[in-house]
């Protein structure tokens, strides 16, 4: 059926409204992504002969990458980091905070302000602040705390580096999780809980049978956003450990930085970017399928 004049006009207006966003998307997302794919097939570098005259090297960067133990280590570290910080830490604490803040607590405002505080500190500042807390020696906060209880002190970022960056990133991300999950909780009608209570359901049963199933779309959306953004975490961890000790906290983002701006191998760094992009894309599709939404 032919479109009416009004429909065509509405479509045109929609295109005009969308055009600036589309142009920005092409300029700052799509073009750089395509250029990264191109770079990944060259030996482009920031210095040396390859900086003057880069050449096409075919699949060499990818072959090298899949044989590089440091790349696999970075992938593994990133997996554990995302699992620990985003999927377990931030989600669980965010959900607990969201549920707690729906109740009538005495210090509700204070509590919610405290949870939001970590987002007020810039990443690098937060990183250095945590270094002072987790450092070795008698004056570091955590060491003084454990010493007070008669426990042995340690240089926490050296002894438990991965666990520490998970803790720090969890601290930083609770607020985002809480806000998103609070929005999800508010969509659940209170009548359902009241009916369940009248039927004699326990709080645990209500949580398992009502809250979780009805929250699932929000949870999956949160997981998608949180997973992809945690894969890209750089500043906080770089300020804390620079990927060390010995690659123990070398996330894929830090590995990319090190290859591109420490070893100056832009082509190889781009190949890692492409793989990280594919991993993020696959995870995004998986979440979207689980949430049964179209993307």
């Amino acid at each position: 059926m032919a479109k009416t004049l009004q429909e065509r006009r509405a479509e045109r207006q929609l295109m005009i409204v969308l055009l600036p966003s589309l142009l920005l998307l092409v300029a700052f997302v799509i073009y750089p992504a395509i250029y990264s794919v191109y770079l990944s097939f060259t030996n482009e570098a920031l210095t040396g002969a390859a900086a003057r005259a880069p050449r096409f090297v075919g699949w060499r960067n990818y072959t090298r990458l899949f044989n590089d133990a440091k790349f696999w280590n970075a992938l593994f570290v990133t997996f554990v980091f995302v699992l620990g910080a985003a999927i377990i830490g931030q989600f669980v604490l965010g959900l607990v905070s969201a549920i707690a803040l729906r109740r009538r607590l005495v210090f509700r405002t204070v509590f919610s302000s405290i949870i939001l505080l970590p987002n007020a500190a810039p990443e690098v500042v937060a990183g250095f602040m945590w270094i002072s807390m987790l450092a070795g020696g008698d004056h570091a906060t955590l060491s003084r705390f454990v010493f007070f209880f008669g426990l042995p002190t340690a240089d926490w970022l050296q002894v438990f580096p991965l666990a520490m960056i998970i803790v720090v990133n969890t601290w930083r991300g609770i607020a985002t999780a809480m806000i998103l999950l609070t929005a999800g909780l508010s969509t659940i009608p209170q009548e359902i809980y009241e009916a369940a209570r009248m039927d004699g359901a326990t709080p645990a049963q209500m949580f398992r049978r009502i809250t979780l199933p009805l929250m699932m779309p929000t949870i999956l959306l949160y997981m998608l956003i949180s997973t992809v953004s945690t894969i890209a975490v750089f500043g906080l961890v770089y300020a804390l450990t620079r990927g060390g000790p010995g690659g123990a906290t070398e996330l894929i983002s830090i590995y990319i930085y090190n290859q591109s701006f420490t070893a100056y191998q832009l082509g190889y760094g781009a190949a890692v970017v492409v793989i990280a992009l594919l991993v993020s894309l696959l995870l995004g599709i998986a979440y979207a399928r689980a949430a049964k939404v179209e993307i």
Partner: protein, 392 residues
């Protein structure tokens, strides 16, 4: 820099904008290379390490200054070692070698004398290690430090590996045809020194795996006498432990002595490199004008001013008679020894070698490999990065 800028502005009739780049060196170089690669680098800039120069020449970032610098009167009295260090593998000069970094071993004379350990110059690597063992046994302190590991960045190469390789069985790592000779016996022997120090707990390891590895050993352990010897440069007398330090050692030049780094089986080595050499951007809007400004940076006045600020050694012999330099009493004795400085022949790929050494020593620090394993990490990394052909 302020007085130099004013002088250049007055002499050349230009307006200069001074831009400060971030520290540490790694971040500084990354920013500089990114800007030069994008074609919008500064007209004149300094580089954090001699090792970066050959690669930057290959990249086409630096304008040659051979004709101008050789015709310049001020260059005649530069130390030969500075002039040699300034010449790139292609025979051209691209940098103003106005300051020298003179490095050797610094040790706590007071600590050794207190427990009756000899302060005499160690004669071989074994002698040096034996001294470190004696220090450990008699004082419980760490006996010796060579910077190592990925976190230390190019310092693992510039302030650690180079000290030992120049006195090894294979003292150069570049062949006549410009290839990197990293499979030599000397490289393995150098890594073996690190391994011995690490295995015998003679050098601090944990701090070197952290994000700012120099802080604990250089600024805490050494001033406290818990690390007794370390490689360092002339600047340490002023900044690390001297008058500009946050944790100064009283009477630093009296209680901290220097040893040259002994060779594997003999010989004494003082390492010389170019400290923050300046160069002209090949894509500068006015290369000729930038070259004129560069020559002004090479003046004795600027060298002395920099010596006071960064603790390095002026390359011009005329600085010796400068009254302002004579006030820098910590540097005067080191200045006299600058001519004897040893250095590695430069080649493209040194930046990659530096990163490879950092990775290899990092694995040694984590006790994951032996000396042969560390050498393999270095060779594999350089081959993967620069191609098989780059390594002999």
């Amino acid at each position: 820099m302020k007085s130099t800028v004013e002088r250049i502005e007055k002499k050349l009739g230009v307006k200069i904008e001074v831009v400060e780049y971030p520290a540490p060196d790694k971040d500084y170089l990354s920013k500089l290379l990114t800007e030069l690669g994008a074609g919008n680098g500064p007209d004149l800039f300094s580089m954090p390490s001699t090792a970066a120069v050959a690669d930057m020449v290959d990249a086409g970032y630096l304008a040659p200054i051979t004709t101008e610098i050789n015709a310049w009167d001020g260059y005649k009295n530069f130390y030969d070692v500075a002039k040699k260090l300034a010449v790139s593998p292609d025979g051209e000069t691209y940098v103003m070698p106005y300051m020298l970094g003179i490095q050797e071993n610094y040790y706590r004379k007071d600590v050794l004398e207190k427990v009756g350990i000899s302060t005499e110059q160690p004669k071989t690597w074994d002698d040096l290690i034996a001294r470190a063992e004696e220090i450990k046994t008699k004082t419980g302190a760490y006996g010796l430090l060579f910077p190592a590991g990925v976190s230390w960045g190019s310092g693992a190469f510039d302030e650690g590996f180079q000290h030992l390789i120049v006195g090894s069985k294979t003292p150069q790592i570049v062949t006549d045809d410009g290839k990197l000779d990293l499979n030599g016996e000397g490289v393995k022997d150098v890594f073996n020194v690190y391994k011995t120090l690490i295995d015998k707990d003679l050098m601090p390891v944990q701090p070197l795996l952290g994000p700012e590895p120099w802080v604990v050993p250089k600024y805490e352990l050494f001033p406290a006498g818990k690390l007794v010897a370390t490689t360092c440069g002339s600047w340490c007398y002023i900044f690390d432990w001297g008058r500009e330090s946050k944790n100064p050692i009283p009477d630093v030049t009296k209680v901290v002595g220097t040893w040259t780094v002994p060779g594997q089986t003999g010989g004494q080595f003082v390492l010389a490199n170019l400290a923050a050499p300046w160069a002209v951007n090949a894509k500068s809007a006015n290369v000729e004008l930038a070259k004129k400004a560069l020559l002004e940076i090479g003046s004795v006045e600027t060298q002395v001013s920099y010596a006071a600020r960064i603790g390095n050694i002026p390359s011009n012999k005329d600085a010796a008679s400068d009254p302002e330099f004579q006030k820098l009493t910590e540097l005067v004795p080191i200045y006299a020894a600058a001519e004897k400085g040893t250095f590695l022949k430069q080649a493209a790929g040194f930046g990659t070698v530096a990163e490879g050494v950092a990775r290899a020593t990092d694995a040694l620090l984590r006790k994951e490999v032996d000396a042969a394993g560390a050498q393999k990490i270095l060779v594999d990394y350089v081959k993967e990065t620069l191609g098989e052909d780059a390594v002999k």
